[in-house]
Symmetry: C2
Subunit: 452 residues, 2 copies
């Protein structure tokens, strides 16, 4: 019996055990934004690593701790898994069919908060470790797990943690926390993540709200100040007006455009799924839309709040106004540069009264599509998924991959158990058990081949 | 004993009765915005008029009914009182020292929602009627009361009601719902009210909020659309950009400026009371600030709402955004013109996606400072207040005086029992009993002199 066959036999016969472990893991709430169950979940994560023989530490970060585990294997190479044990808040609770922290199995799917993002990824990878140990008696390579607790709250301490633990985290390659298949069941390989600089802009023009019959005539209006400040950042042409904002932007390479050309058409899917009538900048679809989706810096208002927001009218001039704004960054933009340029721009435009609160940032980072580790991850997939992985040069989203790429110097590959209806960050988050098993099989193969 | 002395003797000896009647009136909630107790309060208002011998009707308007009462008097002239029985919502309840609908007397003040705005004005005027009937056995002139139930919700049906009841409401002069003394105990005569056009602007760009890593790159953002549309209405120069918006504006007359010059300095008072650092347009104080405060059209953002407004960050592109905006109007601007210009302007600027909901409007209206009725109201005040009334050419606020001035052709005078700490629209609304008595005395004199 080949190694693959032995591994698969183990996985097939122990799937229930792994799902039971995942269920216990999900039943332990770990909502970072609400500081709910974080220490308990870190301890449980450490326990799960220790029982596989990983030398495990729960390390302070200044926020939720990082759980780090390491187990030696046969070969000299080291594979690092990045996962996280924190989850998004479960609200709105009334939209869940079963309670978010009481995992429920139905129709081949497991439901619960964090079951996909990201607890299922961790347990599926530990399941692959179990299968390798059962089949081979040892791991084919050194394996490290870094499992953080602040991924859903902008990984604010992770960059420093990596910088302070370069030796501990030393590895040859990294598997990222997420991945999955698209609506055609094609497994996806994301080669990079955009960066982000998330800020809250706020203005306070008075100590209390004032009747608009008085204040509207002669006092500065916080909401107007905010509107004008925002308008100075970007106009309807969608061009971000921070001086130098595009200076470090690297346009997509010929290879990137070639890969984007191979991706499926998305325009009609988006229109139906999100109810949008049209796209910005006159885009209508095709590779141009896909390139715009990931290779362009953005400035997005995520929220606005000021004054009276109830039904009907209230004649009040607001004393305070604020906006949540995210800047998505592409290589080689840096969040610190954006923050500096934003302050200088607002001051230059006369908006010294607009305060900036930095709510989190990450630099963009990418892995070469032709890196040997990407090839290894892709080459091990078709046997499991029945088709090759699709290379996506960049994700529109963001994540803390920059220190792994730039400080640890690792190729970072995505692979996972997600699918288009996983509902991460939303009610009724779920995973498909068939994809859970496939991901464990894939990870076992990656570890085996990587160790050769 | 002179008529004045007899009247005052009645008022002095019956103040407790009138305050008891006011307390029963206040104890009947009548929150228009919450449709709470409106029919009951209209019935109670009618009962209060009927027991003074007023021929009283409760008349439908399409919204809360109007209570109309009429009683013939000795002379041929008719004085019309405009009051309202509806009140502002009492929230936030936790800030009230005693419950808003359980009137409480302490330290010479009566506390409760509506005790000043506007129930106390109605009962003080009925108290004056009682005194005249007791002293003279009849009223010195015809007296009409129009008591509406939608003043706090933009008097949406009042203009049409006046147009449909011109004969019923026919009169020779009108006393307005409010008035009072300033911080120097000087009684104020407001000669006009600005108009208003209150709208909600809203944009919907998608059927659901979208992750900003996707939507922020290629979908139209509702919050950005709203910001750009608002910015097109007014820039930091405070000039309203609707075409033709200033065409019908009548600048203050020499007499207006003369009157504004006589008013006290307000700059430092405002800075202390509202915590503002400076005024718009480089204004620093003096008559220029006072003129700006009331004689300039305004465009005020009263509220903004879109997307995520909680703590920390959420990377979401909002599907919806909306703003509450009020335009204060000066003679001879009209709300219908503003609505038309706003739609045309938004369309011309490319904001056909921005919807306008009209939430209420009133035209501005003023009474001539040298009208004989104004002189009568002013001439009867010094004996009571110990000093002359101060003429204020215009209030910065708005109200439905336009149909009374323009359709019924009446001079409209303000006189009332308010004072700077009345807390109308706020928790712990209150009146001072000494000012209540003074207002009743003043109204009795106005009725007596008007009938001569």
């Amino acid at each position: 019996m080949s190694s693959y066959a032995e591994i698969d036999a183990y996985l097939d016969s122990h799937l229930d055990d792994s799902i039971a472990e995942l269920s216990r893991f999900v039943a332990q709430p770990s909502v970072g934004a609400q500081n709910l169950g974080m220490q308990e979940c870190a301890a449980l994560t450490a326990e799960m690593l220790r029982k596989r023989g990983f030398a495990t530490e729960v390390l302070p970060t200044g926020g939720a701790p990082v759980v780090f585990g390491e187990r030696k294997g046969k070969g000299g190479k080291t594979l690092l898994f990045y996962c996280h044990y924190d989850v998004q808040p479960p609200e709105p609770l009334e939209l869940w069919e079963t309670p978010p922290f009481e995992p429920s199995l139905r129709d081949g799917k497991l439901y619960g908060r964090g079951v996909s993002d990201d607890k299922g990824h961790l347990t599926a990878r530990l399941f692959a470790v179990d299968a390798l140990l059962a089949a081979l008696g040892e791991l084919p390579c050194n394996v490290k797990f870094i499992v953080e607790g602040e991924e859903e709250t902008s990984s604010v301490h992770l960059h420093d943690f990596v910088l302070n633990n370069l030796e501990r985290l030393k590895a040859d390659a990294c598997i990222w926390e997420f991945g999955g298949v698209d609506h055609e069941e094609t497994p996806l390989e994301y080669l990079g993540l955009r960066g982000i600089c998330y800020v809250e802009l706020s203005v306070e023009t008075a100590s209390i709200d004032v009747h608009s019959g008085l204040g509207g005539s002669i006092f500065p209006n916080a909401a107007w100040r905010l509107v004008w400040a925002l308008n100075s950042l970007k106009g309807p042409d969608e061009r971000i007006r921070l001086p130098g904002h595009y200076d470090k932007v690297r346009p997509p390479s010929a290879r990137d455009v070639e890969l984007m050309d191979l991706l499926p058409e998305t325009a009609e899917v988006y229109k139906q799924q999100y109810g949008v009538q049209s796209f910005i900048k006159g885009l209508t679809g095709g590779a141009a839309l896909r390139v715009e989706e990931v290779f362009t810096p953005t400035c997005t208002i995520c929220g606005l709040t000021s004054g009276y927001q109830g039904p009907g009218s209230k004649t009040v001039q607001p004393a305070k106004a604020s906006a949540k704004v995210d800047f998505r960054l592409v290589p080689d933009q840096e969040p610190a540069d954006v923050l500096r340029a934003l302050r200088a721009h607002l001051d230059a435009q006369g908006f010294t009264d607009v305060k900036i609160e930095f709510l989190g940032g990450e630099a963009p980072a990418r892995t070469d599509p032709d890196d040997p580790f990407i090839k290894l991850v892709c080459d091990t997939a078709p046997e499991i998924y029945g088709k090759p992985m699709k290379l996506i040069p960049m994700s529109g989203g963001s994540g803390p991959n920059s220190p792994f790429v730039h400080e640890l110097g690792l190729p970072v590959a995505t692979a996972g158990l997600g699918y288009p209806d996983s509902r991460g960050h939303a009610p009724n988050e779920n995973i498909r058990l068939d994809l859970y098993l496939k991901h464990a099989r894939h990870m076992a193969r990656v570890l085996l081949e990587f160790g050769k």
